[in-house]
Symmetry: C2
Subunit: 189 residues, 2 copies
DNA sequence: GTCTATAGGTGGATAGAC
DNA sequence: GTCTATCCACCTATAGAC
């Protein structure tokens, strides 16, 4: 994820800051110090912090969707795909980060509307993809669940986001892995 | 929850603010405006914001433990107790709040050490209580699970915290209820 | 595109009168 | 206990030179 473009480098640094400290937990000064430029320069690329935040979620969402598309291209059974979905979260967590949108969900009440909408769009897309995998798995006898695929998808996202948050607080990734494995095991046919 | 004591009233207001906006999302000015006093007065009761935060979690933890003791006094089966445990979360959510400690878990990286410790203590106590209920339920054939009670307790807490956060962002408490019901249904013997 | 300089506001916190 | 007044650091953001 090495960027040459300054805008992308700013987003890289901001992304790491939001995922660790939250949108209200960092400032332009933090980015400027890391990047080695002045605060004023940042405003050339992102006029306001709200702009920066919105563009950040947009990029994160696209990158996440690309990862989901990559899972689909890789083929494999529905349980396999779910394991690779969980692996994305683990990778983020092992970098001591939270899911960007999980973090923003906590700060929801303080976010400007465009950021809220972009955040919900992220979860909607995740729900869509997961629902597809779940339905496919159920149809092929690879997965079993009693509720609507949509509701199972929502419950799964919630479990992963919550487990991620607690695991990060305890500095113990195995807390996440245990919760995630249990969630997947319960879907086994 | 009506307090006459000024310190308690300050904590009441701060609690609502943290549960909706986060610890980094409010200021002494917000409390002062709501309470109708000056910022300086607040510093008489809580010298620093870190003090305020720590005392806030202490009180919240005690109140939560009292609620768990109340569930125990009420008797009933393990599934019954778990339903009443979930009901605590629902009540908080219907007031458009997050769990105080779930909120702080997101901001973990920016919190002073005393607040971190107090927050983890809250989750440890929840884990202890839940583990007890789970073990009791398993021993009496009311609940069934494959993993250690401790790990099931952790997974359950993570699910509830995550579902709460997403449900609040979507302004849809039913999202939480569906996830919680699914989590409890999977423990049914 | 990046800089210096600065505006205008808000943050937490303190001193000292009442 | 609460007030007024104030401090200083930091915040987001802008103007204008280079």
């Amino acid at each position: 994820m090495i960027s040459v473009d300054t805008s992308q480098r700013i987003l890289d640094i901001a992304e790491q800051l939001v995922q660790t400290r939250g949108f209200n937990g960092f400032s332009y000064a933090d980015i400027a110090a890391t990047l080695g430029v002045t605060k004023a320069s940042l405003h050339y690329h992102f006029p306001s912090k709200a702009d920066l935040g919105q563009r950040l979620i947009e990029r994160y969402g696209k990158s996440f969707l690309a990862a989901l598309a990559s899972i689909d291209r890789g083929g494999g059974s529905a349980p396999d795909r779910l394991r690779r979905y969980v692996a994305i979260y683990i990778e983020v967590l092992c970098d001591d980060r939270m899911c960007l949108c999980g973090m923003l969900a906590a700060e929801f009440a303080t976010l400007p509307s465009p950021m809220r909408d972009e955040m919900m769009h992220f979860f909607d897309e995740n729900e869509r993809w997961l629902s597809g995998v779940l339905e496919h798995g159920a149809a092929h006898g690879e997965l079993r669940f009693a509720e609507r695929a949509r509701d199972v998808a929502r419950a799964l996202m919630a479990s992963l986001e919550g487990a991620m948050m607690l695991a990060r607080s305890y500095g113990d990734a195995s807390r996440f892995e245990l919760a995630a494995n249990r969630a997947l095991a319960q879907l086994a046919a």
